[in-house]
Amino acid sequence: MPNTKTVVPFSATKEQLQELDALIEHHKAQPGAAMPVLQGAQEIFGYLPEEVQIKIAEGLGLSLSEVYGVVSFYTQFSLNPKGKIQISVCMGTACYVKGAGEILEKVEKKIGCKAGEVTPDGKFSVDGTRCIGACGLAPVIIVGGDVYGNLAAEEVDGILDKYMQ
């Protein structure tokens, strides 16, 4: 079983922590407070690391396991921060049949982390995404906002090299 703990050490500003406390305080009394608090916390921190989930659990009187159960249920919640350069590999049907799986593997190998994770230096993160609507260009990846289409797996290394300097 994977331990989905992030490789990047958690750091938060005083303002972020105050914002989280206020958020918890605001929702504390209402039933089903976990969802809005988790959504808000993800907006504050960009992701939901263990440190933040512990604060939420203690603040709402839940166990960490209950909080984590919700976080791991919804794909919208992320356990890892996003990298400075985000890579999205389209896994929509058209891209998938044209080899997106192989492209994702190449990307993971090149940057050294798995889909949904971030590299230890915080520079890159990669996700397999739903259809981005560019099926005519399949297979497609987006690197730091730049779109690359009609890709062959062998081209991945060359493209990513440009971002690695």
């Binding site: 331990n3 989905t4 263990e50 440190e51 512990i54 396991s65 984590y68 159960g69 791991s72 919804y74």
Partner: protein, 580 residues
């Protein structure tokens, strides 16, 4: 009252009854997997579906209330087909190594597959690899056997309020584990083992250490002594088809002797010893203005909860070791000396109702003899029953026998330790007489008996008013501690047991399928057998136990004295709840 028909038989039941309960009144057992009365009524597993005339689809009998004029079929072709399909789906990713499984012939899923005559599974998911998580001392999880019924999750949250396990991820990826899929040893589990007692399969089980005991018994250098906890003598029989709530003490001693232990002693004796020390501690704290309320410390599940969740109550904990640890400590000191055996050659085995006792036996820095653990192996009742079976001992045919008399013969006070309220009552019998110096007119403190989660009473002891409370099950302990912390309630003495109903319902006790647990109060039936034993014993106060008196006179000195402290007392420490 509501009138309905089940399989064309007229039934009358009170309003609010479920179809499951109503069917039971006319001799029909509807199968269940996820349902636990009052704890897990989620209608999720769909094994209990029945046909209700006029209903759109099959309904889950465990949560569907009866209504007037309802017509229910519990065994129609549609019901049978649905249940079989559900069973096939559940079995499709269950690792079926039944012959080599710890729960072989004691598995609710296996029984259903047998009852429904399932011989072929149309859906085949590959799940051939075990998924063992055995980081904790007390239990082992194998998710390849898990059917996602969530009974463990429910008992951990509802009864024990610690909720350290839950469903993670989603859909086909759903699995039961700890937050962040951390190992159980890294999360604030209290080791109560209630999850292992309610798991329908072998996804959760105690760490089986019976082989370690067989090995010790076969080792000529080891002098192997054994003692069983009070509650074991009223539960062990269940593993051998003896009715629930039967006292099989004599057969238990006989079985231990036939297994070849060098000495068969009794942990009941150290229950008496615990009381003598603990009552002394209570009296001294009351007289000398010590920290009150004093809270009992016999239940290691409760101790682990206190250390991790309510460390501010550590000064309230009695420093007395539990009867198990006192047993080990006395074996490696007093007994080793008397029997002229080196302490390191004495191998102490305890038979416990409890998985947390395994963890307790490995607490560091509290041993009576430096460098040795007080207890070498703590077996659960279930492991002990497997040893008896493996040795070919025909349990039901055993004669009643007596333990070895150098360390046996407890009072009724020691016996009732196994039920919620029992430690409180036993302590009061001794403490009240110590404070007043007068003999009690009656030793029965009935206010603190019974299976309610929290019990309170006030006793006049001489000029003092002694306010007491008893909680069993961690969720009740939590409620009680909150009341004390907020100042809403004040007590001089509190008994807490980690498992609901106390040790008789401990996490290491014999497995009873949920079909039994839903309709029987195991806690009450097993406890009754203990109180019956107490009633019939000539001595019912720990401080009157002649063996205890002699041990103090010849060896320990005074209760609470220097030597008693070195051997019989322990320390507690704050434990981090989260280990990042």
């Amino acid at each position: 009252m509501v009138n309905l028909k089940i399989n064309d038989t007229p039934v009358q039941v009170p309003d609010g009854t479920t179809i499951l309960e109503a069917a039971r009144t006319v001799g029909i057992e509807i199968p269940t997997l996820c349902y636990m009365k009052k704890i897990n009524a989620i209608g999720a597993c769909r094994i209990c579906v029945v046909e209700v005339k006029g209903a759109r689809s099959l309904v889950a009998a465990c949560v569907y209330p009866v209504s007037d004029g309802m017509e229910v079929q519990t065994n129609s072709p549609a019901v049978a087909k649905a249940r079989r399909t559900t069973l096939e789906l559940v079995l499709s990713n269950h690792r079926m190594d039944c012959l080599t499984c710890l729960r072989n012939q004691n598995c609710e899923l296996q029984k259903l597959a047998k009852d429904f005559g399932i011989q072929e599974i149309r859906f085949n998911c590959d799940n051939s690899e075990p998924q063992i998580e055995d980081s904790a001392i007390h239990l082992v999880r194998d998710n390849s056997k898990c059917i996602l019924c969530r009974r463990c999750v429910a008992v951990c949250k509802e009864e024990q309020s610690v909720a350290v396990i839950g469903p993670n991820d989603r859909g086909a990826e759903t699995h039961i584990s700890c937050a962040f899929d951390r190992d159980l040893s890294e999360v604030p589990c209290v080791s109560c083992g209630q999850c292992t007692a309610v798991c329908p399969t072998a996804a959760l089980s105690e760490r089986d250490q019976s082989q370690e005991v067989f090995d010790a018994l076969a080792d000529p250098k080891k002098h192997v002594v054994v003692g069983a906890a009070p509650s074991v003598r009223v539960t062990l029989g269940e593993c051998f088809d003896v009715p629930i709530g039967s006292n099989i003490q004599g057969k238990m001693y006989a079985a231990l002797k036939r297994l070849g232990f060098d000495k068969v002693f009794d942990v009941n004796v150290t229950a008496d010893l615990t009381i003598t020390e603990e009552a002394n501690e209570l009296v001294s704290r009351i007289k000398n203005g010590g920290t009150l309320p004093l809270i009992t410390s016999c239940s290691p599940g409760w101790i682990q909860f206190c250390e991790q969740y309510y460390p501010d109550f550590i000064p309230n904990l009695s420093s007395c070791k539990s009867p198990q640890q006192m047993f080990g400590a006395m074996m490696k000191t007093w007994y080793a000396q008397n029997a002229n055996v080196a302490p390191e050659d004495v191998f102490v085995v305890t038979i416990m109702p409890c998985t947390a006792k395994k963890v307790e036996s490995r607490r560091e820095g509290t041993s009576a003899v430096k460098g040795l653990f007080d207890v070498d192996v703590a077996l659960t009742t279930r492991e002990f029953s497997r040893m008896i079976a493996q040795a070919g001992i025909m349990f039901k045919d055993l004669p009643d026998e007596e333990p070895d008399n150098d360390f046996s013969g407890a009072t009724g006070a020691g016996v009732i330790f196994g039920a919620t309220g029992g430690v409180m009552e036993a302590s009061l019998r001794t403490a009240v007489e110590t404070i007043t110096g007068k003999e009690l007119p009656s030793v029965d403190f009935t206010d603190v008996r019974g299976v309610e989660g929290i019990k309170e009473a006030v006793y006049d002891v001489g000029d003092l008013k002694v306010r007491v409370a008893v909680a069993s099950g961690i969720s009740n302990a939590r409620k009680l501690l909150e009341l004390v912390r907020s100042g809403e309630r004040q007590y001089e003495f509190i008994e807490i047991m980690g498992c609901p109903g106390g040790c008789v319902n401990g996490g290491g006790q014999p497995i009873q399928p949920q079909s039994v647990r839903n309709f029987t109060d195991l806690r009450a039936d097993r406890a009754k057998a203990l109180y019956d034993m107490d009633k019939d014993l000539p001595l019912r106060k720990s401080h009157e136990n002649p063996l205890i008196k002699a041990i103090y006179k010849d060896y320990l000195g005074e209760p609470g004295g220097h030597k008693a402290h070195e051997i019989l007392h322990t320390k507690y420490a704050v434990k981090e709840k989260y280990r990042l």
